[in-house]
């Protein structure tokens, strides 16, 4: 069955088609939920909410543009919505200058570890870092999505990079010390 047929069946609430669509995309969408969330349980909640939104709004999908892009936007919106309702986005503006030195040694660092340190970032830094670095949104897009200024978005990103770099370096130092 082609993707379009599957989508059409989902539009008429065919339960089997909905299950197939879930199987097709859960593997790709769950990592997105993981990186935008604080932990595994919250990611599961986001995935659940996102799929319910997808099945609810699939009638509005008009086969223009990629379906994967459409559902990814829903996942991101679902994640952002959670923090909007929790009102954690109103961090006081921090004026941090553009990053100076954020290069890092490309040694073997596990994906699991990277995911963990992203999840440990403060909510807004995590969102901005994900949106800009991993999902390719511009600072202007981000400023609209999060209802912040472009400047705030930039400084949040810089701060996120610094924290991540620092965390990785500390981790390495510790490993190095342990190996001695």
């Amino acid at each position: 069955m082609s993707l379009n047929q599957l989508i059409e069946k989902c539009k008429v609430n065919d339960t089997k088609a909905q299950g197939d669509l879930y199987k097709l995309y859960a593997g790709k969408l769950f990592p997105m939920c993981l990186k935008y969330s604080r932990n595994y349980a919250e990611a599961e909640d986001n995935l659940q909410d996102a799929f319910l939104t997808i099945f609810n709004k699939i009638k509005q999908y008009k086969n223009t543009g990629s379906f994967e892009g459409w559902i990814k936007r829903i996942v991101i919106n679902t994640a952002l919505q959670r923090y909007r309702s929790e009102k954690v986005l109103n961090i006081v503006h921090e004026d941090i200058s553009e990053d100076v030195e954020i290069d890092i040694d490309d040694e073997d660092i596990s994906l699991k570890y990277l995911l963990q340190i992203i999840q440990e970032l403060p909510d807004r830094y995590r969102l901005v870092f994900n949106l800009y670095v991993l999902d390719g949104y511009s600072h202007k897009d981000i400023s609209e999505m999060l209802d912040i200024t472009v400047g705030t978005s930039k400084s949040n990103l810089a701060r996120a990079r610094q924290i991540l770099k620092q965390t990785i370096e500390n981790y390495r130092t510790q490993e190095h010390l342990q190996s001695l």
Binding site: G27, E44, L47, I102, I104, D105, I109, L114, I118, V133
Partner: protein, 498 residues
């Protein structure tokens, strides 16, 4: 060794092909919610139709006049009335209605409304009543002040005494106006202190009216009750709203309730037809008003939905008019048997004379009138069929509006167990037993639809009025014509929550 790399690149490369399958439990939860949503979609549509049908039914059953009188006037006191003071004051209004013209009645209604709202006012204000800033010459305001002092009297013994001593003095100034009052007061002069306070109020108000009669602005002021009521409602609106919310929250705890009920029931058929014999298909049928009584228990699933069951004894009956009953002497008539009637056995002593009662529709009789009959018991007799059942309903009640006067839609079904059944011919009030209908099922069902009004007297106690339409299924075998029996009952009762 490793290269230096921009931190963004590091993350981008690592996350590029990151795929991970979530736990199966996630899909199960999604699926459960999708199914629940489908179910939820079905129910509201059903309730919409039920609501429309029940509303139509209410209009048909109770009739326009009754509907206007009750449904519109009942909610009004529910908005204003709040405290136990209401009772004596209402009595006072009733007493007043006898002796005064309409404009004055209007004024009293206002003052009673004002009184209820001002219960929580400070006692000091009442003490200062003479210098109260709002006093001016507006009669309704001064009425509220008068009631203030009376209310304060209820609260504190000291002020009551002072008011009581002041009050007779004021009343004396207006003896003429108080004569009627005195009469009504005496009638109501019980020993309870509430009544005393009501008398105080009467004195104050009566006093006020006498002032007003010399004041030209009286008529205009008393004829604008709406504005005054609104003003006071706004002042107290928040408090009232809070009280209501608290009430609702507490009610949630009381999931179970028991309600004894009684109802007049009207039995009839939707189509033309007969349950007795095909020859009566076109005869006119008239419904008999019978009673149903019983008790129901309900369980509130949530704030809006409750499920209930119970047991009711239902008597139903209807008359088939324009029949002729003939007593044939000593001979068997071919017309003596009705299709669905098991006649009284000839062995019974009552019928041992060999008389056979034949019953015909009057039209049928006209056709066959050439035959010889010994006696006729009359023309335009009617056949009365009476049935009685034990009814076990299972119904769902959905709350549409949860105010002091709650509005519900009710739907469900009932099982009926036949307990008694008889046919009589009736002529000039004399009933002759014909026999039992042979075509009534021992067990039958009905689809129920109705509309409920609950008037909450207190958190635990309410009064119900529920017009119900019950369409009977499988009650009769072998009916002729288009016989679709139903009955309408207007159930009234009271409910206790616990």
């Amino acid at each position: 060794m490793s290269d230096k790399k921009h931190i963004d690149r590091l993350f981008q490369e690592k996350f590029k092909d990151f795929e991970v399958t979530p736990d199966d439990a996630v899909w199960r939860r999604i699926e459960a919610q999708l199914i629940e949503k489908k179910k939820r979609k079905v129910i509201p549509i059903w309730w919409t139709y039920a609501g429309v049908a029940a509303t139509l039914l209410l209009l048909l059953t109770i009739g326009n006049g009754y509907f206007n009188n009750n449904a519109i006037t009942e909610p009004t006191p529910s908005q204003v009335v709040d405290t136990e003071n209401n009772h004596p004051l209402n009595q006072m209004n009733e007493n007043r209605n006898n002796g005064h013209d309409n404009s004055i009645n209007g004024a009293i209604e206002n003052t009673s409304a004002i009184t209820n709202h001002n219960v929580s006012e400070d006692a000091n204000k009442a003490d200062n009543a003479p210098s109260f800033p709002k006093k001016e010459l507006n009669p309704t305001n001064s009425a509220s002040i008068a009631n203030h002092s009376a209310q304060t009297g209820m609260k504190s013994g000291n002020t009551t005494e002072s008011i009581q001593t002041n009050n007779p003095h004021e009343v004396k100034n207006n003896i003429q106006g108080s004569v009627e009052l005195a009469n009504t007061s005496e009638e109501k002069a019980n020993t309870s202190s509430e009544t005393n306070n009501a008398q105080l109020d009467k004195g104050k108000i009566d006093n006020l009216f006498n002032k007003n009669t010399s004041n030209d602005s009286h008529v205009a002021d008393t004829q604008t009750p709406d504005g005054i009521q609104n003003h006071l409602t706004i002042e107290e609106a928040i408090e009232l709203a809070k009280n209501r919310n608290e009430d609702e929250e507490k009610e949630n705890i009381n999931r179970w309730s028991v309600a004894p009920n009684a109802a007049p029931v009207f039995f009839n058929s939707l189509g033309k037809g007969s349950s007795i014999d095909p020859q009566f298909n076109s005869n006119s049928k008239s419904s008999e008003t019978n009673m149903s009584y019983g008790v129901s228990a309900s369980y509130a699933v949530n704030n809006r939905v409750s499920v209930r069951s119970g047991i009711n004894k239902v008597n139903l009956g209807y008359n088939t008019n324009n029949v002729v009953a003939i007593r044939t002497m000593g001979m068997q008539s071919s017309m003596s048997t009705l299709a669905n009637v098991k006649p009284v056995s000839n062995d019974t002593p009552f019928n041992s004379s060999g008389n056979e009662l034949s019953i015909l529709s009057s039209q049928n009789f006209a056709n066959k009138s050439s035959e010889n009959f010994v006696t006729t018991s009359g023309i335009n007799t009617s056949i009365n069929q009476s049935l009685s059942f034990i009814e076990i309903p299972l119904e769902i009640k959905y709350l549409l509006s949860d105010k002091k006067l709650g509005v519900n839609v009710i739907g469900g079904f009932s099982s009926f167990f036949l307990s008694d059944n008889a046919l009589h011919s009736t002529f000039d009030g004399a009933k002759v037993f014909i026999g039992e209908a042979s075509n009534i099922n021992k067990t039958s069902y009905s689809a129920n639809l109705g509309f409920g009004l609950d008037y909450k007297v207190s958190k635990k106690f309410n009064l119900n009025l529920e017009p119900m339409f019950k369409y009977q299924i499988n009650t009769f075998n072998n009916t002729s014509g288009d016989f679709k029996p139903y009955f309408i009952g207007v159930y009234t009762g009271f409910g206790f929550k616990f």
